[in-house]
């Protein structure tokens, strides 16, 4: 059962990902990426990482992707304005990406981390368990990340603002 769900989710994720990079319209790409994120969220649930699954949907699929859509709309980029990549570059890219995958998989195999035991997350992925870890061991990084957000916010405002002289 779990294996079937795993396969379905995996196919969804991979197809979504491929669609992201191959669709010519940026808006479609965004939507396919959302699909991929949902599939990954499904994987998180399968691994009993409930908290991450929710965060993934809210932050990634929700907030970030909406931001992407906003930008695309704002800049009116839904039409395909992209110059076609040369065929040679595409092939080279494909080979490079394929090589990368092979080497990564090979490297992991080399580490012989693999096992045939199906992964079933226990209690560690629950909100309460993660919350405990986050607010005890990782309190300081957590607080610092708020500073990061603040600076990102200010930075975005500063960058997005049109130059006063121009206006």
């Amino acid at each position: 059962m779990e294996q079937i769900i795993f396969i379905i989710l995996s196919v969804l994720a991979v197809v979504g990902a491929l669609a992201v990079i191959f669709s010519s319209n940026a808006v479609y790409s965004v939507l396919f990426l959302v699909l991929t994120f949902f599939a990954i969220a499904g994987h998180f649930i399968l691994l009993n990482a409930q908290f991450l699954a929710i965060v993934n949907i809210i932050v990634y699929a929700g907030a970030i992707m909406v931001l992407f859509l906003f930008v695309i709309m704002l800049l009116n980029l839904n039409k395909d304005s992209e110059a076609p990549t040369p065929a040679l570059a595409r092939i080279a890219g494909a080979i490079a990406a394929g090589l990368l995958m092979v080497t990564i998989v090979g490297a992991f195999k080399g580490l012989s981390q693999g096992s045939d035991v199906a992964l079933r997350g226990g209690e560690i992925g629950t909100v309460s368990r993660l919350g405990q870890v986050l607010f005890s061991d990782f309190l300081l990084p957590f607080e610092i990340s708020s500073v990061l957000f603040l600076s990102a916010m200010i930075g975005a405002v500063m960058l997005g603002k049109k130059n006063l002289k121009d206006s």
């Binding site: 990902a17 494909a94 981390q113 870890v133 960058l159």
Partner: protein, 105 residues
Amino acid sequence: MENLFSNTLDGYLFLASLLFAIGVLGILIRRNIIIIFMCVELMLSAVNLLLTAFSVHHNDPNGQVFVFFIMAVAAAEITIGLAILVMIYRNTGSVSIDSLKKLKW
């Protein structure tokens, strides 16, 4: 072999590698900066998935905390990145990375 297509650690390794490679492929063949950004997100997600899988494998919540932080940082990064993108578009009228050729001495 069937391990690759099941919810074992090997399966997640394979899936994550595949997603990561697709992300890389996207970065290499696309010229649109927005798409490239999305591919970066895709690669991050692949890593997140792998981290979670290892976290479960080792029964250690730290891995998942890490994923949480990655998401937080990614969110901040995207904010800034998109703001820069808007600036670039305003200045060059294009979102193609080929419009940025000043990156040399």
